[in-house]
Amino acid sequence: MVPASWYVALSAVLFSMGVLGVLIRRDPLVIFMSIELMLNAANLALVALGQRWGSAEGQALVFFVMCVAAAEVAVGLAIIVVIFRVRRRLSVDELNVMRW
């Protein structure tokens, strides 16, 4: 039996890679993919810890996280497509219209 700490460690590494992707990439699509990586890392930790404490509540939470991720990706990609239609370019560094 693999100890839960291994899963949690893997999840921490995966989450860090997602953070790294958000910080270093400039393509909003790839930034979205990195956010998906982070959500997956959180899901992995939830399942592993739920397993460790012998309850299915972790899995129920992962179910809700999946729903939120699906909604988030749909809306986010729609926003990106609209931005592209308006500005014809796709670099997040230039999207500072709403910055104070």
Binding site: S5, V47, A56, L77, V81
Partner: protein
């Protein structure tokens, strides 16, 4: 045997995540993301979370990946990572900062949570326990989920409609 499966899947997960970060072409990144999500589904299987493994493949590796590929096809990107880098400082700092974050996470996890001996009983049968939980304790959040998805549908439609209106 389980350790073997875990190690193989973990290597695939980390390798494909690195692929998402490194590849310049977003299509390649999306395909690496599919590999990553599918191997996370494999990890769910090793933890006896069969329903989540199936949902992971259908929702993430199916629907979300297809959505990403559609967006990439619509946008036809590939040239946006050029030009002067306005956030160079942030990108230089990213790797050490993430390293510090990982270190802190490791220290916290080693010290606190996982030392507590939990009940080592296995989770009672994947799908049945999860379904029982979703339709009793988590019934209200489960229903609210449908509202959330409806809001997402309406929001996406509104965005798409405004787009065609301006052109």
């Amino acid at each position: 045997m389980k350790v073997f499966a875990f190690v193989i899947l973990a290597v695939i997960v980390i390798g494909s995540a690195a692929g998402v970060l490194i590849r310049r072409n977003p299509i390649h990144a999306a395909l690496f993301l599919v590999v990553n999500l599918a191997s996370v589904a494999g990890l769910y299987l090793t933890m006896r979370a069969e329903f989540l493994a199936a949902a992971q493949v259908i929702v993430y590796a199916g629907a979300i990946a297809v959505l990403f590929v559609f967006a990439i096809m619509v946008l036809i990107p590939g040239k946006e990572e050029t030009g002067p880098d306005q956030l160079r400082g942030q990108r230089m700092m990213a790797v050490p900062l993430v390293g510090i974050f990982l270190l802190l996470a490791g220290v916290v996890l080693r010290s606190a949570v996982l030392r507590i001996p939990g009940p080592s009983t296995a989770v009672p049968g994947g799908v049945e326990a999860l379904g029982r939980l979703l339709f009793t304790d988590y019934l209200f959040p489960f229903e609210v989920t449908s509202v959330l998805l409806l809001v997402a549908i309406v929001g996406v439609l509104a965005l798409a409609k405004r787009k065609t209106g301006t052109e």
